[in-house]
Subunit: 323 residues, 4 copies
């Protein structure tokens, strides 16, 4: 056990995602049990640069495992991309006698830590937090399961009105250039077609399917925002071949980012948060904690890559259900 660590700093960075507060709770509780103080930097790297920090207490965080977003707030920091900014951050760590740093965020966050490690040699630990689930070294990122649950609950609502009117609905979901939310939610709601960036859409097939769809029923198309074809183009193509179609587009948007974290994300936040502190006590540094094949797993920052996880099994499911 590394008994030299007395004060851990923690922050959330990049896009917020449900489960971050559960991770903050677990980090703080585990640290407290080991006689370590925890300070939270606000607004990601900005708080590191500006020395904007608050002391964290597990007794207060305990009530917030259910809360979406991040109580530390988050931001993307241009200043930290410059050496000048990183030097200021280093000064903050020195002034506040921070012995170790835990960051919750996406691959950009971990790249920032790598750059920072060139001038700062306290240990850094990363926790993957993004609804897009597009980070290697972990099966799930914090927030993905909550985002998918929000997505399917709302597509279920859309099914009610789609079936009442026998309408075609195109629902656009989030994921940036990853179709992971799209394929998962599409399968889960029994969609008639699923369009994601990772898969060349068989457009002819889709149009044929819509043309001949049972006009006594709904027809649901789930499109990932990163899909090159996109909701509008699909819509106009469908209207070309099927001018009388009763079609609507809904873009779920930012509701997918918020809301109380679901079970999986709370547990993930707790498991990763506990392991982050334990890893520091075992003198680990510059690694991201993930859950790979249901086991805790460490990946060095320089091996973490942005990754689309549409594996063979998913591709087969897409082929079977999605076109």
């Amino acid at each position: 056990m590394d008994s030299t660590i007395k004060h851990i700093g923690v922050f959330t960075s990049g896009g917020d995602s449900p489960g971050m507060n559960a991770a903050l709770y677990a980090i703080t509780k585990t640290a407290e049990v080991n006689g370590i103080n925890v300070s939270g930097f606000r607004k990601g790297y900005e708080g590191l640069i500006d020395g904007d920090l608050v002391q964290l207490k597990s007794h207060e965080l305990q009530k917030l495992t259910q809360k979406g977003g991040t109580i530390l707030k988050t931001a993307r920091s241009k200043r930290f991309l410059e050496l000048e900014g990183r030097k200021k951050a280093l000064q903050t760590l020195n002034v506040n006698k921070i012995d170790a740093l835990i960051a919750i965020g996406g691959d950009g966050t971990f790249k920032g830590l790598l750059a920072f490690s060139e001038i700062c040699d306290i240990p850094f630990i990363g926790i993957p937090g993004t609804i897009d689930n597009d980070i290697s070294g972990t099966d799930y990122t914090l927030g993905f399961d909550s985002a998918v649950n929000t997505t399917i609950e709302n597509i279920d609502k859309i099914r009610d009105t789609a079936e009442s009117h026998n309408r075609v609905f195109i629902v656009e979901v989030m994921g940036r250039d990853s179709g992971y939310i799209g394929i998962h939610s599409g399968l889960m709601v029994g969609a008639d077609a699923i369009l994601i960036p990772e898969s060349g859409t068989d457009f002819i097939n889709l149009l044929g399917k819509v043309k001949n769809y049972d006009s006594e029923d709904a027809f649901l198309i789930v499109v990932s925002e990163g899909d090159e074809i996109g909701a509008e183009l699909v819509s106009s193509k469908i209207k070309e071949v099927n001018p009388n179609v009763d079609l609507r587009i809904t873009k779920l948007g930012h509701i997918q980012r918020g809301g109380n974290p679901c079970a999986l994300d709370r547990m993930l936040g707790i498991r990763l948060g506990v392991e982050a502190v334990k890893s520091l006590l075992q003198s680990k540094k510059n690694v991201m904690i993930g859950i790979l094949n249901n086991q805790l797993h460490l990946t060095p920052f320089n091996e973490v890559v942005k990754q689309h996880q549409v594996n063979k099994e998913l591709h087969e499911l897409l082929e079977l259900f999605g076109t």
Copy 2:
């Protein structure tokens, strides 16, 4: 009691709304207790014209009070606007020996019944169903409360991410040319600004408020889809005066139409459905059943108007909270 009624026809028309199935249950149950059969016409006036009907049983409908949309499906019918269509509908009623008709829909639906009454003299009863709550003669229309609940649950989610990033969010909600969903949901989520068609927005004031808003917090703007200014214009104006603002637009869209009906809409459906049958038994005809000042209330079809219910109290609330 009107003992001549042996067979009631019922249909849902216009946009679907949560609570319609509860009304169908109540109509059928009340009819059965009084020895009356109920047939449901599918897809609104289209089913009337085409003779597309199913027998309804309260035992089956009982399980569906929780279901959004309408199991009878709904549609807007161009054919019924023509005398030809209405004549076919009359024929359907005659062939199936329908003694009375109950329609669940909006003001357009009731206008249709008025026109139909010129050639068909069986009694018609209307039940107001639309999420827009824009019909006179009732404090609530079926579906309004459920739509507002869906709206606020989702704006609550947006608040999570807005607060995490200290962002300005413009959320567009439904209501066609009525701001009723907008003002209600805006008040309920603690919005910083609420823009609805019924109120000339003090744009200067809004921009000043956004310009000076606490950059350490979220700023939520709720805009009704019918508002002439609209989400995009508000967004571009804000960016003019405040170029660095971190702003997002989310349009909630059709998720507001679906989902399980909330308590109020289920109860409303049951109360209005029971009263519709009772009114028929009391030889009422060509009236809409509403709840006015918490009491059951009948309004003749020719007095039902499309109405924006932003009354004096709401205007004062808007002035107090919304700008």
Copy 3:
């Protein structure tokens, strides 16, 4: 306008209920606009006695309209029942220069204010907050609609498993000696039987119904906790006449008290909160603000009674659907 009021005290008392925080927001916002400070006493009358108060700011409360419970906490106070306690409370008001008092609670809370008015002559205003909806002078109390929504969402879940097993389920809901939650939720979920204290249950009829129920389906019985027969007795009677019945009891319990307030309760909190401050400015005192027939309505404290609101219409619905 009463320009002498500069500082309002507010507290929540009795059982907590969803919507209380929205009322606190509206009170504070309306007061601020009128240049009035607001202090919140913690834990009901206990905080008044102990001088335990915090300053309220609408900017902070704005984010909490969505939060269940009461951020001021609540309690039942034995000390305030004694003159000694009330004298200490008076002292607290004098020391803190409180010019007026707004209390959110049930009929016991208003009785306390009446007693207090004998030694304290600043104006008091009451807002009805209890999930039981058993107070005269208002159609809805804060929290009732949220409790019913929680109830029906959970009975809907029970229906899933009841139908999968063709089981009889007895679900006990809250309401103390009022059957208001019971009858409403029972109707809304399509229950096969509804037992409430206000209605002499036709036990023979119920047993006959259960004995002959379709063993290919679920059979749902909703029982109010105040019903003299109760879940256990119903269960044992059913097993007497129908020994092989597959029956389960579920008591929903305190989940009905918490959770995010639904739309109606947020709006009710806002309307009542605004009117409470306006009433003070109009020199009103010792009245409860309610919504009667959808209009704001003032009732003097000494006319507020605990009341079961199962009116004629509800009794007819119960007869039609509930036995």
Copy 4:
């Protein structure tokens, strides 16, 4: 590929669990694509014995991925425990020319298949479905994630009222003799104590903690129904050492079994359902399909055991957070 399979039978058995309908959808869709018919037996082994079956169509099941429970209904069958019953079931399979059987249920279901395999040599495939997550060979059983989500959403509601009153709450959750739901939900809601059967509760420690708990806050205890101490004993012990404690017990009960399946359970149902049919096509037989370490995994029926999965990591989390 095994081209001899033309007709698959499927049934759900034991307790129902959310996700079963998604599995039925996936089985049927995959079978259809491979030119195979699917018949669903109703009420588990009872339907097999009685020849109570319906044809399944993916087009209809597609809309039901969101529905809790099982549309095929389920039951425990005493008759199938007898050879006589199994012989009748065999007759049903022969009469209907069923080539293969897929069963969704718990370990008892698979034991039944093992016994059946002595007289019936068509291939059997099992899918683990139970909210208790107590089956070896899979990390998740169908329904567990949904049950935990229902549990935590409701404990979150209880926290609202517990914090408003500074109360001690004991919440009993399901799991029969497994503490898996208990430990997971307890961690996820930030419980102050978690009591499960697998862990000898340090009662002295618990009582000390409750005795000294911050009376300015809530104190949440999550107890698994299988815990030998149980909610009532804990309650009475606490009251012994702390007579003035304001304490409530809530038993969540059967609401944990129902409700729309969450994301994870829908996906699990789809993955397992697809693989069940694929396994049959690959001539697999008498195996259960599970997800182990995030990979599809087959376990022979005779190796499937009832298993409590509180592994080392969970025990450490329990020690850290739960006592």
